[in-house]
């Protein structure tokens, strides 16, 4: 499989990265180079193989449902690009 410049535009949209106009051609070529190369995974017989999501299987830990953290509003806001009166200030998103 390979991608066209239009598809790279669409992927950039999905990834919320402004269209890389100047590098679109080069980027398409680079991605196709990588996609061509990963194509070899098609040679492997994976019939009946379970997908592996974690390398070392450990039981999912349980803990008491108790509040262990919180009351740190000012700390949470400290690195905000824009904060006011204890809130994040973000661009308007609902008309």
């Amino acid at each position: 499989m390979s991608v066209t410049t239009d598809e790279v535009r669409r992927i950039a949209k999905l990834a919320r990265i402004a269209e890389p106009t100047a590098r679109l051609e080069a980027l398409t070529q680079e991605l196709n180079g990588i996609l061509d190369w990963v194509e070899q995974l098609g040679e492997v017989d994976v019939e009946g193989v379970e997908p592996m999501t974690t390398p070392v299987v450990t039981p999912l830990p349980m803990r008491e449902d108790a509040i262990t953290d919180g009351n740190v509003r000012d700390k949470v806001l400290k690195n905000a690009p824009n904060a006011d009166a204890g809130f994040f200030v973000v661009p308007k998103s609902v008309e």
Partner: protein, 493 residues
Amino acid sequence: MSDVLSLSLAEALEGLKNKDFSARELAETHVKAAEAINPALNCFTVIDGDRAIEMASASDARIAKGEAGLLEGAPLAIKDLYAVQGVNTEACSNILKGFKPEYESTVTQKLWDQGAVFLGKTNMDEFAMGSSNETSAHGPVINPWRKTGSDENLVPGGSSGGAASALAAGVSYGSTGTDTGGSIRQPAAFTGLVGVKPTYGRCSRWGIVAFASSLDHPGPFAKTVKDSAILTQAMSGYDPKDSTSYPGEVPNWIEAVGQSVKGLRIGVPKEYSVDGMPEDIAKLWAQGVDWLKAAGCEIVDVSLPMTKYALPAYYIIAPAEASSNLARYDGMRYGVRVEGEDLADTYEKTRAAGFGAEVQRRVLMGTYVLSAGYYDAYYVRALKVRRKILEDFNNAFTQVDALLTPTTPSAAFGIGAKANASPLEMYLNDIFTVTANIAGVPAMSVPAGLDKDGLPLGLQIITKALDEATMFKVGAALEDAAGFTAKPQAWWA
């Protein structure tokens, strides 16, 4: 005092205990040395002299009271990926410029709890995506090593290039790195250091900027195998804040260093003998086999037939996880924001301006393989291949106790040497290291010799999950046999 810079961590800890010097003296010497090398090597993004002196003074007080921790008074350098409270933690990305966490990563907290002294943050590839430390927003790191008779600047490897470069130049007694596809072991090999990637889950990922969560392994760089065992010991342990943290006990690995390797079965996987491998590396590998044989190991030829699929599987899985992890950088709650016409436009402008070219490429690749219509063909297939690679290792470890391979397919290369190559060529640096990330098994690189140009080369030891003890044992045996004592010429002084 500058001669203390040539000590190993174990020797420095001994000297502190014997009051040959104080922690404060060590800290002062290291801060001065860090400031002296940084203009040439660009290995530190932050040098925090005030904090180093303050922590060292507290160490001296604890030493005086007889309350010294495992690392009491030892200055360490921390990869910029680790959150250190109140200190710029930017993953060497413009999108996190100025980010000062209000919390401390679990691993660094463990180091401070054992008395280590924070020296500074080290340069790295942006979000740990790279194998040469050339994608950093702070610019490339320079390797202290040069070819004999050459003044060409070489890369230290990546992504933990600053951590490797600083330690190889004799500044700090150990540094932290993270290894997602080889980012500790490859730079360790390029700079003549020991680099350890323990079993997945041994070291908590909490408070470390995420790249690919199922592949990210924190671990140390060290001057010696013993130092690396001390550091791995201090960094490991269960952490309830990381749901993939391994809940079992941490064995005493420091004791394993120096134990006999007699009777251990060492596997030599034929698939690691690749076309175009430099003769020096093939020779060193054969030499490593001979060294272990002489130490009483039994050498066994093994086959890991899935090896060649590890890197392609990695370049689906790692970008997929990265595209998901990096979705959080949207310019709303932290990091840099570039205002746009509306919310979507702000997101897009922020991410286009904040992420460098390699990060964008991987986020796009990850987005593609996870998108509707391609998810099964790429992502799910890669996860199935991943299991086959793990089964390869499981099979091998029914026949052998450890595997011996080269760490890298080449020695350090020049800055910009691969600038015009395809991204693939850079990715191939990780061909021997990435398999252990895919399988989550412990692996380390030990400096074993110099190539014909006088550059260091490493050998890699891989053991089964949770068997770091055997890895350290074999590592120490290799170190003994190799007697690697070469140091880079201090051309930057």
